[in-house]
Symmetry: C4
Subunit: 244 residues, 4 copies
Amino acid sequence: MPMSDPATALQDTIDDLVTANHILFREGIVDAFGHVTVRHPSNPSHYLMARSMQPVFVAGTDIVELNAESKPAANEAPAVSLERFIHGEIYRVRRDVTAIVHSHAAAVLPFSVTRDTPLRAICHTAGFLGRGAPIFEIRDFAGESSNLLVQNNQLGAALAGSLGKSAVVLMRGHGFTVVGGSLQEAVYNAINTVLNARVEMDAIRLGNITYLTEGEAATVSKLHNNSLNRSWEVWAKRAAGELP
Amino acid sequence: MPMSDPATALQDTIDDLVTANHILFREGIVDAFGHVTVRHPSNPSHYLMARSMQPVFVAGTDIVELNAESKPAANEAPAVSLERFIHGEIYRVRRDVTAIVHSHAAAVLPFSVTRDTPLRAICHTAGFLGRGAPIFEIRDFAGESSNLLVQNNQLGAALAGSLGKSAVVLMRGHGFTVVGGSLQEAVYNAINTVLNARVEMDAIRLGNITYLTEGEAATVSKLHNNSLNRSWEVWAKRAAGELP
Amino acid sequence: MPMSDPATALQDTIDDLVTANHILFREGIVDAFGHVTVRHPSNPSHYLMARSMQPVFVAGTDIVELNAESKPAANEAPAVSLERFIHGEIYRVRRDVTAIVHSHAAAVLPFSVTRDTPLRAICHTAGFLGRGAPIFEIRDFAGESSNLLVQNNQLGAALAGSLGKSAVVLMRGHGFTVVGGSLQEAVYNAINTVLNARVEMDAIRLGNITYLTEGEAATVSKLHNNSLNRSWEVWAKRAAGELP
Amino acid sequence: MPMSDPATALQDTIDDLVTANHILFREGIVDAFGHVTVRHPSNPSHYLMARSMQPVFVAGTDIVELNAESKPAANEAPAVSLERFIHGEIYRVRRDVTAIVHSHAAAVLPFSVTRDTPLRAICHTAGFLGRGAPIFEIRDFAGESSNLLVQNNQLGAALAGSLGKSAVVLMRGHGFTVVGGSLQEAVYNAINTVLNARVEMDAIRLGNITYLTEGEAATVSKLHNNSLNRSWEVWAKRAAGELP
């Protein structure tokens, strides 16, 4: 939306962020926990995130602006998520990233607790997994008795380091974080990470698997906005209770 | 409906095609993507398909007539699916086919990415699988870095070649395509392909499996229209929100 | 209900049979196919069954009385199920049986197609499986190319022979049939057969299993009517759309 | 709520207990069976429990006060659960426990019937499993032909002995019992026991698993009331039909 004025662009972004929260709940990517953020449309070193609360209840007035250190930009801000550093530190080093989702989805967790069977791109809707999904072992950074949460900038930076140039980083025993070039893409990638995990979990029972080649993964991941919007519209209707 | 006039037959076919779109969404065979088509009732070299859109939102006014080359028959037509060639090329070589469903259903995908455990007829509701479900490896036709989509007539013809005389062709890493002698049969076959895949996935854990014999598969697949309608009525009611 | 007059007893039985049809649909035991029957309360050689139709649409006026040969007792009767012989022949030889359910539920089907891992009682709610669940291989009676359906008295008698004194008989590639001393018990046993199959399917992945002993199975299967009614009430409310 | 008067505290506790019953039904932890209890807020040797009935139908007037021997405190009380001794005997020896849930959830049952793959803490939401989940083999206490129910104080005491200092005890072929320092925590632990079981069931297929260390389990299980309330609010809304 390059032509819209900053205030309109901000309001549109907030509206989409609210919808993203509701979609992610309805599709089982987040429950009472988990979060989604987006870069501030006119101040790209800042990002927008709901205050610390359940995604399904998020409204526009719950959105908080956080700065590059993941501190609220306003003086009087509500409580924000303990794990906001996941987002702040990825935005810092990944200028190509516009939106981020953090999830505890049960279908992906098994791939986070073993290195014997990597999560790999198997479906044409999950080409973004083509670079692989590295595992962030927080034990290497926070010791043997941590609470597994990414609750400061140092751990956030370590997570961003594990992510590297990939789209998805698995967090051992905790969940995963996935990025996108837009809110629509981050939500799409989150939902299709779960889908690919389910398919791979079943496929490994059947025999040797033909995964996507690097070339295929790269090609299928060049999704057009039209494709992303097409899924988003269905998910948004379902989140609004208008579809089963 | 041999006695009905062409206009009525066309309208009835369009109505059924709309219902098929809604059923396939509700039963999880399609999501924002996937499609279903039917031969034109009075011009059998043409077929009918919704314009490029989400199946759950399809209405009668969204149905487009495509010719034997999968080009819109009308001068001014809305955008149509990139993958319509799946349908056009199967209709060309399979005169026994009246309707086709293309799906990305996650339960079937694992069988598309390995040749070690073929999808085979195991349930009496899936006799149509009796000839086997060949795998279409698009890499053999589109190279190592394709987007996996069947987006021209050549790839459509290759897919139709893999299908051969079978009812189902698995598309590696992408989904499957299933045919029927009527819209009701194609929808029934799509839903029961998923069911058979689920049962086989579990059965292989238990030991050696007794699959249907060729004779059994042939016999059970001689379904009467009454049986197809019986399922269709339940699915249509559910798609309309009148059943859980 | 020994004190009620025959007409009231019959109407109560029909009402329960209608509810059983709706429960079995809602709980996923039947879909457009599958059926449930009950002995006629005042003529125990006859039984009651919905005409050939989808269980979820059954109303009291759809219930048909069938005689010991599974022929409609009335001169003008609607079309009845091709597979009614399952019921008639079990009622003939099992005087302890008052109600029967026939299902194609996908969770049980895998156990019907292999003899390597028998379905056995593993949960305290499935003591009725204590005698084992024999497999009816219709190929032994109908040859190599049958439609797998039990569509005459001879096949029904063969099925009843396989069932023997058990509560459940698995039908290879087709489904299962389960009996009970009341409609409530047959429905309970059907739903818990599916549950036990799911638990066993998962348990076999974990290691050696402690199944119920014969003594435990016998003890836990002495269910009081109170327990059966307790489940029935929840299922009936859910079938009526009053519970999620 | 140390400042509230006893009558208010009791009413608040009863209200929460009713909500807990509805949540556990909606989340699939209980069905027509299973139960949840809480210590009496002003008489800690007594506890509160619904009369013998389906959890989803429980209202405030169904709550019964039971004494340390699991007998109703009032002279005229409705029928109470056969298995109330599970609760009474755990409250007796575990002064740190304020609430208890007993469930037959199918996802956990497989871990109760084998000793080859223990249920262990794998997710950061299941740190309470860090001490392990011992298996209560009722056969050791009630013989080879019991009904598997904990239906007297002796069996309740044996179960409490198996539980020891853990948060969860698996009951072979029957279900599990889980404790918490509050109703909110017991419900949270019940739901996350099921979640952890599902993740572990899948993870064991993938290779060697990194479980939580004892230190991690201890750290993540120090959940703040805020976290528990956050989940409880979502579950309560869903149980009330206000969320999908």
